[in-house]
């Protein structure tokens, strides 16, 4: 089974802090994604990566950056966390024999106070 692991399930950070959300997948997928999910707004794509060191902005990249130094790992970085970034963050991956099917991690609940 494909496994997408997000390092932290629950985080509480202060406004202005730098926050790292880490994600690892074990299926050698080329594509990795970061979404945020908010009530009434569904899932919105922040960034995605289609190869090591390659990234592309999603629909809401402002306030975020990403890093993909290794194929299995995709990190989301909040350079200076703000309260409007309080949300659930979902990492996902796709590629190889799974084609367009996306496999999600369990999510990271981030609260910025």
């Amino acid at each position: 089974d494909v496994k997408v692991t997000q390092s932290s399930r629950y985080l509480v950070k202060r406004t202005g802090e730098k926050v790292f959300l880490e994600c690892v997948q074990d299926m050698d997928h080329e594509n990795m994604f970061w979404y945020r999910q908010d009530p009434g707004l569904g899932l919105r794509l922040i960034y995605f990566s289609y190869d090591v060191k390659m990234k592309e902005k999603g629909d809401i990249p402002e306030g975020y950056s990403v890093s993909r130094e290794k194929k299995e790992r995709f990190s989301l970085i909040l350079e200076s966390a703000s309260t409007n970034q309080t949300s659930m963050y979902l990492c996902a991956s796709s590629g190889g024999v799974s084609g367009n099917t996306i496999y999600f991690g369990e999510g990271s609940w981030l609260t910025v106070v």
């Binding site: 997408v4 080329e30 594509n31 994604f33 979404y35 009434g40 707004l41 569904g42 899932l43 794509l45 995605f48 990566s49 289609y50 190869d51 390659m54 592309e56 999603g58 629909d59 979902l90 996902a92 796709s94 590629g95 367009n100 099917t101 996306i102 496999y103 999600f104 991690g105 369990e106 999510g107």
Partner: protein, 114 residues
């Protein structure tokens, strides 16, 4: 606005009944997928239907696609309490890069009462 929009936003049914939810989208697609999310968890892929397909089945799930109306429906037959979840449709959106990315709708929350 989002590519996929589910309707209704919420649905409450009795165990054993069928649940139907719809998804509309705006631009041409290669395929459409349905995902399920249990409360507070990640999304799980249910079924993919390609743009040249009209209907697809998987167990108690039936998906239809009408590209002329830019809409899809998901039917869950003989629902069970364990089907209680949110259901999302997702459409692909080709980017200039190799990896296609999906755009998700707002989801339909389904409650199946025992």
């Amino acid at each position: 606005s989002q590519q996929g929009e589910e309707d209704p936003q919420a649905l409450s049914i009795q165990e054993g009944e069928n649940a139907t939810m719809n998804c509309s989208y705006k631009t041409s697609i290669n395929n459409l997928q349905w995902y399920r999310q249990n409360s507070g968890r990640g999304l799980v892929h249910l079924i993919l239907i390609r743009s040249n397909e009209r209907e697809k089945h998987s167990g108690r799930l039936r998906v239809t696609l009408d590209t002329s109306k830019k809409s899809s429906s998901l039917l869950i037959t003989a629902s069970r309490a364990a089907d209680t979840a949110s259901y999302f449709c997702a459409t692909d959106k080709e980017s200039k890069a190799a990896g296609n990315k999906l755009t998700f709708g707002g989801g339909t929350r389904v409650l199946v009462k025992p």
